[in-house]
């Protein structure tokens, strides 16, 4: 009788250890799976940074066609625009000229894949008050902004929004 009980106890112990091994294996597998699947997706922003650098340069260096005036780049136009008075540059109110030309250039970047949106704004301050001209806007939590500081005066900034 004692021999039978001893044998049954030993068998029970072996089964318990087997069960424990199964549980440990399960836990290890679940931990591995969670470690892989919950890892935050790395956002590669190098490409977008280069894109924004090129694009802001393309906008600020662009020389609109002006028949009667000395050629000016968009950077010069932004610098000589009185955003309050909206003075005439290149035969047009400067704010309209800046808005239209930059919008047209930004729209050229649209490749139809709807992956990116662009946000272009120009900030300036007058009498200690901050003002802003919004040329184009995009809404996304995933935004990379690039500022271009001109020597003095207005500060244009271009952001790229990445839509997932």
């Amino acid at each position: 009788m004692a021999k039978i009980i001893k044998k049954a106890t030993k068998r029970g112990q072996t089964e318990a250890i087997g069960l424990l091994v199964i549980v440990v294996l399960f836990v290890v597998i679940i931990m591995f799976y969670l470690a892989f699947s919950l890892r935050p997706e790395a956002v590669n922003t190098l490409k977008e940074n280069v894109q924004v650098d090129y694009m802001l340069n393309a906008i600020l260096k662009y020389t609109p066609e002006c028949s009667n005036e000395v050629t000016k780049t968009m950077k010069d136009i932004i610098n000589s625009c009185d955003f309050e008075a909206n003075n005439v540059i290149c035969g047009r109110p400067c704010k309209d000229l800046i808005k239209d030309e930059s919008k047209k250039i930004i729209e050229l970047a649209d490749d139809g894949k709807q992956k990116y949106g662009y946000d272009f704004e120009i900030k300036w301050s007058k009498n200690g008050k901050e003002n802003m001209l919004n040329v184009k806007k995009c809404e996304s939590n995933n935004k990379i902004t690039y500022h271009k500081f001109l020597f003095r005066g207005p500060e244009p900034s271009l952001s790229i929004c990445i839509f997932k």
Binding site: L46, K47, V50, D53, Y54, M55, N57, A58, T63
Partner: protein, 157 residues
Amino acid sequence: MVMVIIGIITAIGIYIFYGEFIKNTGEKGREMNEQERAVLISMFGRLPEMQCSKNGNDEDYCIDTIKAVGARNVIRSNKAYYSNILGYRNVKIEAIYPQKNNVICDKDNYPGCGTFAVYDNAKPNAQDKQIVSVLVSLYYPHENKYRVGRFIIEEFR
């Protein structure tokens, strides 16, 4: 019985682990390729063979169109050197704003042209082609004007 269950669970574990590992490696590979293309594009914007310069100062991310015409010939005559850096790729710049012009530029038709085919090295029988493009500022020194172009890199695999 216990050994069989342990064996099955271990097999499932190995399957999940390698599945995720292969998926991760693929993603990393794609990411590295994208980064490589971004670095190439960035490098082109600062290549002395094509970079704008005004009053002795280099301007980043801007292509001097006269230099771009010359760069095509420089790259062609040193193809071994450039293909070592650029591999199986085509690199071209298209003038797109205010006017698009598809005529390929050479020293005889410049500035009445709009496409600068800087580097051509398409892979024969390529399985896959990836295209990356960015807007770029194009400088026309004879008019002292900047226009907008598109920088296009086609990569063959």
